[in-house]
Symmetry: C2
Subunit: 473 residues, 2 copies
């Protein structure tokens, strides 16, 4: 069903396999691959899967990329890998931002992007059953035909796949009101490391039979099993959405306004904050003039039957501290205003390679976090842009790199930002995952007992330690 490119590559394959030490013999792996529809040992392909969108590379080359076409294939590959203790790195769209899908020396890459069927949309029960390779925006579009949507809305929705969203428990712009990926996943079919098929959860909205294995798998970054099917909840598309933007003199004023919106007991469906450097980057790339209107920008949306009434209340709160407040008069103007936020990352990326961070602080510490990051940037001479999902205290400090790879100084800045977040009562990662990038800090956050329990769960699910080793926990 997909073009296979192994026919003319037997030589490459053999030479690659000769590196296997320890692991399967070339003969054993060749025997496995003889039962697999679609795989590749093409050099470019092996280079490609060494990294994800974070750009993080690991040492060495993987053995082979298997583009699986069924749960049964996944099961056979994992059973084989467990038997021979070969690392398996599951990969979907490869849009991760923490190196979670980066595959290293001697590993089998399990590319699940061909498991991209929307098996069912049940508009009456508001659920969908999908393969992990389905692009998030495609599911959203399919649901829209029934007045529904897939509520989690990662900024990467147009390019990321549901499997990756599940692996990282992806958040997104609607998170504070509508929750994150974990809140939308009702059931999973998971292939365990030894090849057994585990079905978690249920097709109903509620259910408490047994332990919540669904939530355990969501966010486990491919270290506990391979998701081959997911049942997700769909939500009604709101009847109306309203938008307001505000420009502030300082990022502290903007953060204070975000906090004030929460204290007024208002619930924006979107509340995004961008700092001055980000506004400059957007202006440079898009030809806008945001930075002349203020040094920080907040965009808020409300939705549902009360969208108009609620946006008025939010507008009133914003007027207290902002230099300029603009209500969108129609959906086109609204889209234009939100566009500034959606284009922020691509705009910054026109300046060079970036390292995208993802810390969370309690909402009331948002201003301190912005100031702390500013200070870290100034003292280190490294340029940092900050975008925040302000309603849940999730900041994305974006570190502009001087070269293709982060330097020691740039890593040091990332570390200072993590430490700042923890000091403010926050966490290392809100929605991108630990991956490889945050390995140094993860045990500190989990604590000794937490780390021990994590290790126990990892051994239970994956006794040979083959699943995405070195990632997440």
């Amino acid at each position: 069903m997909h073009p296979t490119d192994h026919d003319d590559q037997e030589h490459t394959m053999t030479s690659t396999f000769s590196r296997t030490e320890p692991g399967a013999s070339a003969a054993a792996l060749a025997e496995l691959l003889s039962t697999i529809d679609d795989w590749s040992v093409d050099g470019d392909e092996l280079l490609r899967v060494r990294s994800d969108r974070s750009g993080w590379l690991v040492e060495g080359l993987p053995e082979v990329v298997i583009r699986v076409t069924s749960a049964d294939e996944v099961s056979r590959v994992l059973a084989f890998a467990t038997l021979h203790r070969i690392p398996v790195v599951t990969r979907g769209a490869g849009t991760g931002l923490s190196g979670g899908a980066s595959a290293g020396e001697g590993s089998i890459v399990l590319d699940v992007s061909s498991l991209n069927r929307i098996h069912q949309i049940d508009p009456e029960n508001q659920i969908a059953i999908v393969g992990p390779g389905v692009i998030t925006a495609d599911l959203d579009r399919a649901a829209a035909a029934h007045g529904l949507r897939y509520a989690p809305d990662p900024a990467s929705a147009a390019i990321s796949s549901i499997g990756g969203n599940i692996a990282t428990n992806a958040g997104g712009l609607r998170g504070a009101k509508y929750g994150v990926t974990r809140d939308a996943v009702l059931a999973l079919t998971v292939v365990l490391a030894d090849g057994r098929i585990l079905r978690t959860g249920r097709q109903t909205i509620k259910g408490v039979t047994g332990y919540d294995l669904t939530s355990l798998i969501v966010g486990s970054e491919g270290t506990l099993g391979v998701v081959v099917e997911a049942t997700v909840r769909l939500q009604p598309v709101p009847v109306e959405t309203q938008t307001v933007v505000a420009f502030f003199d300082t990022v502290v004023d903007a953060a204070a306004a975000a906090t004030a919106i929460g204290l007024a007991r208002l619930q924006p469906s979107l509340l995004e904050l961008m700092d001055g450097p980000t506004l400059h980057a957007v202006d440079d790339a898009q030809g806008t003039d945001y930075h002349r209107r203020g040094t920080a920008f907040l965009v808020a949306q409300t939705d549902g039957f009360g969208a108009s009434a609620e946006i008025e209340r939010i507008t009133a709160v914003l007027r207290r501290g902002a230099r300029e407040v603009t209500r969108a008069l129609d959906p086109i103007e609204a889209e234009e205003l939100v566009r500034a936020r959606r284009l922020a990352l691509p705009s910054i990326e026109t300046r060079g390679r970036v390292l995208i961070e993802d810390v969370v602080v309690p909402r009331t510490r948002l201003a301190e976090a912005f100031l702390g990051i500013q200070q870290i940037a100034q003292e280190s001479g490294v340029q940092v842009f900050v975008i925040a999902h302000a309603a849940d205290g999730n900041l994305h400090p974006i570190i502009l790199l001087a070269a293709e790879e982060p330097s020691e100084r740039e890593w040091h800045v990332a570390g200072l930002i993590f430490e700042l977040a923890l000091r403010l009562g926050g966490t290392l990662t809100g929605e991108h995952g630990v991956g490889l990038l945050k390995q140094r800090w993860v045990r500190g956050e989990l604590g000794e007992t937490g780390s021990a329990v994590h290790a126990g769960i990892k051994s239970l699910f994956d006794p040979a330690g083959i699943l995405n080793p070195g990632k997440s926990f």
Copy 2:
């Protein structure tokens, strides 16, 4: 700090301990108790903790009831119990409906109801930190002072405690729109079976560092650890709530209306269905005349800034199939209309002892579930009342018992209802938990691999198998 009643009970204690076989020697247990502030071996107390609100009793008498006053005490008791392999049954308000807190022969009952402090309400970050013994409604009231509420709303809120809500992942009337207990819990402090203290989650709204141990503990019915502190999310109290009730000729019409509300992409904050027998029971107990107005009753609420607009749309949907539709004109009338639902269970209970079931079916199978239960009741000659959280397909069939304990025939009826739910694509329990009541069916729903993974997790957390043995999984 609490009255202790062990001073004059040494004789009882000793005679109780003599039953310990296997377990700690009387001397060892006495040594442990000498370090504990507040415990009892009073006969009435030991009889009381053999059951919860389900009425399910287990064989034999527990050893002792320890009313713990600190996490450190919990830790010492569990370490002792693991060493001596003594079963520990954690107990809060004792309002469970599945026998989850029923303590049997030779067990230590860990009564956490004294851990009932609201440690902190942080109105800016919209979180609360509470002990497990806090009564759910008390937390809700404390939050209300800040314009906030604890969104999960089990029907037992006035009498159940947060710890029990966490143990069962309690749902409630607002579940379909605002989620269940698991959606509200951000972080837990859990004492593990060996006495170690595990901290899960975080104080921020978002965070994906590590596996979701918080969700794993929520709903685990006291089998994986003892929760001694919880950080929960608080939500704004909606600015407005609107209410409508409808009476129908048949329960099938009412179920169809509930499905139609979902299909119209409306999101009631409450959608409760009661069948004809339940209306009769309410009328008999409360002096109302609901059963003359229809044989099924649906009450819907909307809330938030769009409450009025949304209730109008719901009213229009109801008018299509209902015999009579009444909009509440003010909050007092609304409270009166919702009261019929809140009084349903107490009204049925005036007729005798009941067995309360808790199955879930896909929302579109609601009518079939009602008809199937009616048929089971008719064929068996057992009286069954049905109340449903209609928006999430969660039915509570309430079996009226002929005697104090369920007969074989009554158990058979419960079993037929479970099987019906599973046949309709549903689940055994939506919010009450498996406890003891559903032990016979749980492995069937989890499947072979699911059961094996559950057993592995149980052994990991509780290698000696002391924590609430025989409950949940």
